[in-house]
């Protein structure tokens, strides 16, 4: 454990911690704690570089979205992951990390997660007048029905409605 990680443990003694499958340490935060924690991480603990922001949709859970922030410390050469569970919205870290701007727009576009305090929360990938949030697990995949020979052999008919039909969620 390096000096910085000890400081992390001290500063966030009350926060649940973990390690994700790729070996990066995580802090599990609530939406209300996010801004404060991000500011402390950036200013006091040296995690000044914002790497990535993404989300996982688990529609069966109580709070369906788990946002995952990835920060990097240039001095210690370590990553840190912040995991925030939310149902709908979360404060925006764009005022702290400018690199989060488009990541948050992407999540708004594809998942429908609102980021309060974002300077320009509009769709970034889908056309501006698109309806729906495509990456949610209950959104249809779309496309067209395809009549493969192998599908006929297995199911007896062409795939109805496209490859997304018949999948759960």
């Amino acid at each position: 454990m390096t000096v910085a990680q000890d400081q992390l443990d001290v500063a966030f003694s009350a926060t649940e911690k973990g390690t994700s499958a790729d070996g990066i340490r995580c802090l599990l935060l609530g939406p209300g704690e996010l801004l404060d924690a991000a500011r402390r991480l950036r200013d006091e603990l040296g995690y000044g570089r914002f790497i990535d922001l993404t989300a996982v949709d688990s529609p069966d859970e109580e709070e369906r979205f788990e946002l995952q922030y990835l920060l990097y410390s240039m001095d210690e050469h370590t990553w840190l992951r912040l995991k925030v569970r939310t149902e709908e919205s979360v404060p925006s870290v764009t005022p702290l990390f400018a690199g989060a701007n488009w990541c948050e727009r992407e999540l708004y576009d594809l998942f429908g997660i609102r980021f309060e305090g974002h300077p320009d929360l509009t769709r970034i990938m889908m056309p501006d007048d698109w309806e729906g949030y495509p990456l949610r697990k209950d959104s249809p995949i779309g496309g067209e029905p395809v009549d493969f020979t192998v599908t006929r052999e297995i199911y007896g008919t062409a795939t109805p409605g496209g490859p997304g039909e018949g999948r759960s969620g």
């Binding site: 990938m125 889908m126 496309g143």
Partner: protein, 168 residues
């Protein structure tokens, strides 16, 4: 403008102009021959097929020996649009606008599986075949098609133009 596509298979768009009658005194033959031998493509490389299109225009496969001397970036100066790559919903109106801005006579080659039918991307984001948006003259299967396949399609198009079958 967004193109929301129905789930059932759509019919491809046919060419929108009636065929121009060939002028007399062998001028029609001259027109067909000169159009066939000097098809200048529009650079419409969208994705991976664009790499193969670039390869076909490089020295080993050399598309310019078939008359496509220059790929023009401006639609005003091109007569062949090679749609190489997947067309997303957001790109579809742009593609249609650029096709509309090409002067007649114009032809379209749908290069690759994504341009022909949506390819492996059977989903909400990709237009399932560019023939839903523009009338296509030749489809080139492949993911991506080899440069030789693209040249083959170009030759097929040229043969049809030379016979006067694609005068619009």
């Amino acid at each position: 403008m967004t193109i929301h596509l129905p789930v059932e298979r759509a019919q491809p768009i046919e060419s929108e102009h009636t065929k121009d009658a060939a002028p007399a005194f062998l001028l029609g033959r001259l027109q067909d021959w000169s159009r066939e031998k000097s098809l200048w493509p529009l650079t419409f490389g969208l994705a991976c097929c664009a790499i193969e299109m670039m390869a076909s225009s490089a020295s080993k496969y050399d598309i310019s020996r078939f008359g496509s001397e220059l790929f023009r970036p401006s639609p005003r100066q091109a007569d062949l649009m090679i749609v190489s790559g997947r067309v997303s919903q957001k790109m579809a109106p742009v593609l249609r606008e650029i096709y509309d801005q090409m002067p007649d006579p114009k032809w379209v080659i749908a290069m690759g599986d994504c341009a022909a039918c949506g390819g492996v991307f059977n989903n909400y984001a990709v237009v399932q075949g560019v023939d839903r948006i523009v009338p296509v003259d030749v489809y080139v299967p492949g993911c991506p098609p080899r440069p030789e396949a693209l040249l083959d399609s170009l030759v097929k198009l040229q043969e049809q133009i030379g016979k006067g079958q694609r005068r619009a």
